[in-house]
Each structure stands twice: as structure tokens, then as C-alpha cells.
């Protein structure tokens, strides 16, 4: 079958230009170090790339959120630790006051220190976080957790709704503790419930008036209060641990996703450079063979 002259030239040019296209693509891949420059380069992978990128974004946003929430947990931890120290000091003072050897005026000075500690505990209960929300008010975050009523009693002004925050896929973590869980009521042996600060006030007035049975009751109350405070500390600590574990888990997942994405999207340099060399060689061969073959014409030999 004969090849017409125009067909010969057309075909040669077509082949050379397609080789040049391939070479140009390889070159842009090398400079961008990506195999898939735009979704149309690899349409069957476009959906997978979009999905992986979305998942990576989601994990990042979960991480960011958890890191911010860790700050709040730290604020809570500090407040609880100080409250713990204060309660321990109160116990010491209580034991001291229960000592029969003390006289009324000495007891009064113990009472003064106890009152100061009690006021400090109230202000710890009203700790705020970085955004100005009260930590221990439940969901009434703009109101102080503990306030004074007209008789000077401390009343709880928050609510008990526990707040949860999203901590990952299908995972939420307890975020707030209400003031009445941390500074919780005492249940006395006669089954009556007395609030935290009310019990403290009763103990302080027993110390001031040297009422020994009141002081003994107060010591029993204090150990209950201390137990529930340490329980809250433990809960806060374990929530923090959960968040930290989540963060670590998220880091691993993100790493895995990023490497999947890179498998699809990023360039394998060795293969690309080899491919580029191959294509360059092919182009050179096409060009030089074209120049040789196109110069062959019967007219040159007829004279």
C-alpha cells in the first residue's frame, strides 16, 4: 500500500508533537513534584484525592479543637489542686482546734484563718477560663458559680447540665464539671444533706464558739468533702488523659492518611526522571529520522 507524501509528513509531525506534549507534562510534574497536577490528569483518582484531603482536613480540625480544650482542662486542674491544698490545710487547722489544750482566744485565731481559707475556696469556685466563662457553673457560663444571698450564705447559681465536646469521630468527652459536683454536699450520719459551704460555715462558727461536738462533726464533714474533691480531680485528670489519647490517635491517623494521599498524588522522582530520559530519546530519534527520511525524494535523482 502506498503512502502519500502529505500523509507521511502529517503523520510524522503528529507523532513528534505528541512526544513533545508528553515531555512537557513530565517536566511540569517534575517542577511541581506532583504526579496529579489537576484532577483532569487522573480523573479516576480525582474522587479518591478529594476524599483523602477532606479526611485530613477533618482530623486537623479535631486536633486543633482538642489542643484548645486542653488549656481549659489545665485551668480546671490548677483550681482543683489549689482547692485540694486548701482543704488539707483546713483539716490541719480542724485537728488543731479539736485539741482540748487550746484556749478560746487561740481557737478564735484558728477560726480567722479558716474563714480566710473558706473565702479563698469560694473564689476558686468562681474561676474563669480564657474566654471569661465560669468553669464550674454548668451551662450558665456567664454567671458566677457561687454567690452570696441576703443572709451571707453561699448559694450555687449555676446548673448541673454536663457539657460534652466532640473529640473525634463518634466520640465526645465530658467538658465541664458543675460546682456542686466539685464542692459537693455532705451526707451526715443522720441522713441529712448539708451543702459544702454551709457545712464549712457551721464548722467555723463551732471553732469560734469552742463547740467540741460541732468541731468533731466538722472534721467528719471535711474528710467527706476532701474525698469528693479528689474524686473530681481524678475525673478531670482522666478526661484529660482521654483527650491526650485522642490527640495521639489523631496524629497517627493523619500520618496514615497523608501517606495514602502522597502515594496517589506525589511524584516518584526516580520513575519520572527515567521517563523523561526515555521520552527525550524518543523525541530525538523521531526528529533525526524525520529529517533523514524526508530528504529522500526521487526528484533528486532524476536529472
Amino acid at each position: 500500500m502506498k503512502i502519500s507524501t502529505s500523509f507521511l509528513f502529517d503523520r510524522a509531525t503528529e507523532r513528534m508533537s505528541s512526544l513533545q506534549n508528553k515531555l512537557a507534562t513530565t517536566q511540569s510534574q517534575l517542577s511541581a513534584s506532583k504526579q496529579v497536577l489537576s484532577p483532569s490528569d487522573s480523573p479516576e483518582q480525582a474522587a479518591a484525592i478529594t476524599r483523602l484531603q477532606g479526611q485530613i482536613d477533618r482530623q486537623d480540625s479535631h486536633s486543633k479543637l482538642l489542643k484548645t480544650s486542653l488549656n481549659r482542662y489545665k485551668a480546671e486542674e490548677t483550681a482543683l489542686r489549689s482547692a485540694n491544698d486548701l482543704l488539707i490545710r483546713l483539716k490541719e487547722l480542724g485537728v488543731q482546734a479539736a485539741n482540748d489544750a487550746l484556749g478560746p482566744s487561740e481557737r478564735k485565731s484558728v477560726g480567722v484563718e479558716m474563714q480566710a481559707i473558706r473565702d479563698q475556696l469560694v473564689s476558686l469556685g468562681n474561676t474563669q477560663d480564657d474566654s471569661g466563662n465560669y468553669l464550674f457553673s454548668g451551662t450558665r457560663v456567664s454567671t458566677a458559680a457561687f454567690g452570696k444571698d441576703s443572709q451571707g450564705h453561699i448559694v450555687y447559681q449555676g446548673d448541673q447540665t454536663p457539657t460534652q465536646i466532640p473529640a473525634g469521630v463518634e466520640r465526645t468527652v465530658q467538658y465541664s464539671r458543675s460546682g456542686t459536683d466539685v464542692f459537693s454536699r455532705v451526707v451526715r450520719s443522720d441522713k441529712s444533706s448539708v451543702g459544702f459551704f454551709d457545712a464549712l460555715d457551721q464548722m467555723i462558727s463551732s471553732v469560734n464558739s469552742s463547740n467540741t461536738s460541732g468541731i468533731q462533726q466538722g472534721l467528719a464533714d471535711l474528710s467527706q468533702m476532701h474525698d469528693s474533691l479528689t474524686l473530681s480531680q481524678a475525673e478531670s485528670g482522666s478526661d484529660q488523659n482521654v483527650v491526650q489519647q485522642q490527640l495521639d490517635g489523631l496524629d497517627e491517623t493523619t500520618l496514615r492518611l497523608k501517606s495514602s494521599l502522597s502515594d496517589v498524588q506525589d511524584l516518584d522522582y526516580t520513575a519520572a526522571v527515567t521517563r523523561m530520559n526515555k521520552e527525550m530519546m524518543a523525541l530525538q530519534a523521531a526528529m533525526s529520522s524525520f529529517s533523514k527520511i524526508s530528504s529522500l525524494s526521487l526528484f533528486q535523482y532524476i536529472n
Binding site: Q160, V169, S176, K191, L298, I302
Partner: protein
Amino acid sequence: MSDLLTIGSSGVTAYQHALVTVSNNIANVSTDGYARQDVSISANAPTPLGGSYIGSGSSFDRVRRQYDAFIESNLRSSNSDLKSQEPLLSYVNRLIDVMGDQNIGMTSAMNQFFESARSLASDAASQVSRSNFLRDSDGLAARFQQLSSQFELLDNETHQSIQADVGQVNSITKQLAEINRQLTKESSASRQPSELLDQRDLLLRNLSGLVAVKTQFAENGSVLVSMGDTLNQGILVRDSTSRDLSVQPSAADPTKLQFTIDAYGTPESLPVMTGGKIGGTMTFRDQVLSPAVDSIDNLAKSMVTQINSIHRDGIDAEGAIGADLFGFAAGQEGKAGGVRVIIQDSTRVAAASQFRIIDNPLNPGTALARIAYDTPQYAGPTSLATPLDTAQAPQIATLNRDVPANQGYSNLGLVRAGTQNLVMTLSNPSATQSLQVFTRDGRQLLGTDLSANNIGQSIVQAANGMEAGAVYNTDLLNAQPTASADPRYLDMDLFMGAKADVGTEMRFDPVTNKPIDPLAIPAKLTGRAVVGTDWQSAIAKAGAFTLNGVALKTPSALQSADPSVNNPPTDLAEWINNQGISGITATMENGALQITRTNTQQDIRLGLGANGTGADLATLGFDTSVYVGGAAKDDLLVFVTDTAPLPANAAPNSALSTATVTAQFQAVQGDLKQMLRAQSLQVTFTSDNQYEIRDKLSDTVLATRQLGNEAAPTIQFRGLTLSFSTHPKSGDQFTIDGNKDGIGNNDAMLKLVDLEKGKVMPGNQTMTEAYIEQVNKVGSVAKQAAISKQAMTVVNQQAQQARDGVSGVSLDQEASELVRFQQAYQANAKTMQVASQLFDAILQLR
């Protein structure tokens, strides 16, 4: 004549023509569509000489056009196929570049939206988080608009490209018609000028690149071109006439295009376009772009609906119920390009939930409570029995209902919370028939005591619409307020008996004739004419009747208090007046008892006592009705009972008796959920396993129930679900309210965050997955088109090669032809020279 000179000159002429033809081929080596011309030289007719024939030379016969119709038509169809893949591939690639791009595609905007929902959930009170949330909602709406406008761009571009191509088709067909006209000059194709036929074939090939065509060639080379399914449908060119093709948006669906031939003459519409550039663009429009647009619109619609329904369930920073977050611009409902954020004020973002539960700080137990609300699904009726549910004022409806013989009661339906001023009357009750009104917790509010024959227990079951764990309770039966306390259920105005309200009379200003404040008329209760003497035995029953809350004494009791009183009294009015009740007077009007108030503020209520029945009231001339004053504050279940002894072997579906019930109510306003929010409910554990639910405002006990022994129990009440972290203890108290000030609450926002993972799209997919699947679909079309294009290119090149093999000009071949004919020419010229030399020899003979 056969002589040397003639023969030689015939050869010279012949080969001169041949050389001209060869040089024509060489000159047209690069002409588009040129078919190589070959010469055909034939021998002249021989002349007879003696016993044989001597040849007389050769002559140029004709130019033969090197042409194979089959190869040519093959090339045309492979050209159509190839040209249809090119626009498809390029547009699909553009589409997927748009949809899969980080900055235009939807996934990054959706992720950003849910990310700010998550960060709002972790700090619900913060104004900064709220305004960030609104900003990212705006970003989501804007991204929908952007994507939609990119689609629109592609739509317009493809439309314009199709229109331009259609114009080109029309100009080609006009030229073909002109060529056909010129071809009519000769009768056979082999006699037609080659150049004309070349032009015809080139035009046909260009046409096939635009649309797939069918052709038929006539004897003289003129062509019939058609576009339809068969050769006779959709004719574009026939003989010297061409028909124009045109394209418009279809009348049925403006997003689709419709092709018509000869729209202004005899229109012929084409069902579908295949092949060629136009076919490829149409395939893109119909099979790729249109479904992509639809899927984005569906995604937008779903997203807006789902987000709005969650948002409407929440409370914003000011304690108001959330409104719609997203909406559509006017005229663009249901389209992705119309998505807009409606809320502009960040305090209106609803993050909190509608209900809140508060543990009492002094609780002896350590259970933590959580609350959730879901629309309750009760068994039993959802409205009053037909036709009573249509009895909205001014309509009245009546129902005749059989009381089944195996049960002793019939369920008349549900009075929904919010129904106003319901009146339900039992006409002509027998001695044992009565209406009964229950709450969903089995508390009987109006009617007669049913504990004796277990009808009460059998009424209180889940199939009748009762809550799980409900128990028959008569604590509040017929409760009426006293001077010191108001024990009524939720302080609702409930009454059974006969009631008359204060009347009003219109008054008009005598001067201006305009209506002024109506005049209050004292309440007047009038019965039917009293018949016979049954009334005497009715009023002689102790504890049968009450009037305005005061028990009416029997005539004998009246007589023992005041011997001057008649026993029996002469008529009912005398009996009433003897009771000594202040504020009313009784008279007989035409044989009927009429009780009138002396003031214009209070109504008259003639009710039943503990021993009274509807039949007793009927002897006094009054029907027994159930009245709900104001709006019902909870769902009420109404029954009609017959306490007559049930027959031993009752046939199924047999009736104990028939009751005629009439009802009317004014509007139904408000719903149970908002009423629950307005109340403050208290759940108190009276023992470790028994609890009561009480409404704090009216101090009514709403339910008393038992709790199981499971470790983390739950309680259901009117759609609220309370879950406890451990088992509560006796003395624990929990308060439920409508969360009007808990702005740190983030339950609604948590539900919004869960929406990211929710399988709300058809095919059980999340929203992100549905979008990615659409990208995937477009991607696989792109992949397919790329593969098709490669295959078509190969086929086209083969066809091209085959055609060029027959009709193409090869310079080398022409060069050798040139040499051949040159030598032949020279040889023939030499023959002429020899002929002339021979003649010279003859001339030189002297």
C-alpha cells in the same frame, strides 16, 4: 489512417495529456481532499489492410479519478466518531477540574462549616465562635453559588458552540446543494470534472466531523444527505435544495436543547444527536453536565433542610427558639445557586438544646441525669374519632358509637394539647353510661369512679395511648378548687355536667351607631321541660348533684333541717331555692328548670356528685357534657363507658349499648413540646424504685410510676427521655425546664456536628460522600472518553491511511510516472522524426 506520422502524433498528443495530468497531481500534492488522477490511454481503432488489421495509434481516453467510495465512507464515519469524543473529553476534564478543585469544589467548604460548628460546640457562649460559625456558613453558601455559576458557564459555552456548529452545518449543506446543481450537467459520474467531485467529498467529510450523516450517491454523482435514523428521515440535502438545521431550548424543559430541520418551512424535529462534534457536545450536556447540576442542587436542598431542622430545634443566645439558618433566594428555590444564609445576627445562632435537667445539689444519690427530646410515638388515637375531629367552631359533629360488650368502654379519641374550649356532650345517657376523661398517665380527671369493675385498669393500657408504666389513678377525679387550695390537674378548668357561661349582648352607641363594649348578661342555665316524676327519685339520692361546687342536699335532709320545707318539693326550682345557695335564683320556665346568676361575673355549673350519673341529670332536663375551659395543657384521652354487667359469653363485636356523642371545640393552638418547655417539671424519687413527676407551677402530680432495677435507667414522659448515669436513690430530685438561660449548653450544636457523619443522602451516604460520588462519576466518564478517543484516533488513522493509499499523491510515484511519460513522449516524437525522414527520402527521388 495508419501511417507513421499520424500514429506518432497521436502518441505525442496522448502522452502530452498524460504529462499534464501527472504535473497536475504533483502541483496538488498538499491539496486538501484531492484525489489522485490517473490517465487512461486507449488504442485507436485499427484499419484493415489486406487480410489483417494494422493499428492506428493511441489516444488519450480520459482522466480517471482514484477513488474508492467504500473507503471514503469508512473515513467519514470514523471521523464522526473521533470528532464526537474530542469535545466530550475536553469539557469533562474542565468539569472535573472545577468539581475536584480545592478552592471551588464543595468538600473544603463543607469541612470548614463543620469545623466551625465543632469549635462553637466547645465554647457555646462565645460570641467570637458564633460569628465565625456564621462566617463559615456564608462561605458554604458562597461556594454553592460559585460552583453553580461554573456549571452555568459550561452550559452557556456548550450552547454557543453548538449554535456555531449548526451554522457551519448549514453553510456546508448549502454548498453541497450548489455542487449537486452543477453535477446535473452530466449524466454519469465518470464524466464529471474530478475537482467538483473532490470538493463534494471534502464537504461531506467536514460535515461528518460535525454530525453523523448518511449519504446516497446518484448516478451522476449528486448526493443525498440525511441525519435521521433512516435515509429518508432528516434529509439535509436533496438534489439542488438544502434544508437548514436549527437549535432552540426545548419547550418542555428549558435546560435541554431541541434540534429542528427546516424550522420555518415544514419542521421536522430530531429526537437525538449522535456523532460528530455536535453529538459529542450534546452527550456532554445530557449525560454529564445535567446530572452533575441536578446532584449539586439535591445536595444543596438536603443540606439546607437537614441543617434547618436541627437549628430550629435549638435555643439561641437569647433563649428564643432557633429559626432557619439557610434559605433560598427568591426565584431560585431548590437550586444550588440560590443558597443564602438567613441569620445575620450571631446571637441568633442556636447552639443550646430546648430542654435542661438540673440535679438538686443536695441529692443523696450520685446519679447524673441527661435529657433528650424526640417526637413521641404513642399507640392509640392521634385525634378525636371521626367525625368529631372536624368539629372546629362553628361546626358541630355527632358520633354514634357502640360500647363493645367484651370491654365496657369505647375510646373516643385524643384531645390534643392546645385544643381550646372543648365541649363534648353525651346525649340521653342510660343509667350506666358516662363520659370519662384521662391523662396519658392513667390519671382520671372527669367522670365516674371505675375502680369497682376493673374498667379503669383495662382503659389504662398502652394500646389506648397511655404512657408505659401508667397506673389507674383517681386522686384528681372531678377535683374542683376550694378556698384554700387548687388541686386541679395543671390548673385546667375541667367540668362535667351542665354549664352556662356569662352572656354578652351587643350594644351600639345611639349617636354614632358604632358598637361599644358589649353588655354582660348574668349566666342563665336552662334545661329541657321536665317530664314525669323521675326527677323526684333522682334528687332524693344523697350526693347526686352539686351546684357551683356546693353539694345539693336531698329533700329529706332539707326537711330535717327546716320542717317547713316540702318533701317532695313541688318543683325543681323550689328544691334549688331551698338549698340556700347564694348568688343564684331558680325558676321554672314552661316546665323547665332555669337557674340564673345574680351577678355578671360567674358562670353556673350544675354538676354530678359522687353518686350522680348522667341519667340522673337527664331527669332534671340537662345533658351531661365535658367542658375544657381555655386551652388543654396536656393530651387528654376521652372514653365512653357503660358500667352495666358484661354478658358472660359476649359475641365478638356485639354492643352493650350505643352512645351518642356531640362535640365542638375552637382552634388548636400551640403544641405539647412548647407547653412542656413552659412548665417546670420535678421528678422526685419517693423510694428507690418509685418516683413521681410533678408540675411545679400548679403543684399537680402528673405521674407516679415504678422504675426498674437496671444500672442506668431511663424515664420517658411525653417525648422527653431522661437517662441516669446510675440508679437514683430515694429522696433524689431532678428539675426539668425549658433551658431559657443555659447559654453554655451545646447540645444542638453537637447534633449539627453529628450531621457531618449522618447518612442523610439517598443511597445511605453522608453529604460529603454523595458529592465525592458525583466527582467519581464525572471522573469515570472522563477516563472512558480518554480511552475512547485513543481508540477512535487509531481507527481514524487507519481509515486515513487506507484512503491515502488509494487517492493520495506520492511524489515518488509521480516522479516515476513523469519519467515514464517523458520517455514515451520522446519516443513518439522520435517516431514522428523518423516519419518525416522517410518522407524526405521519398521526396528526394528524382
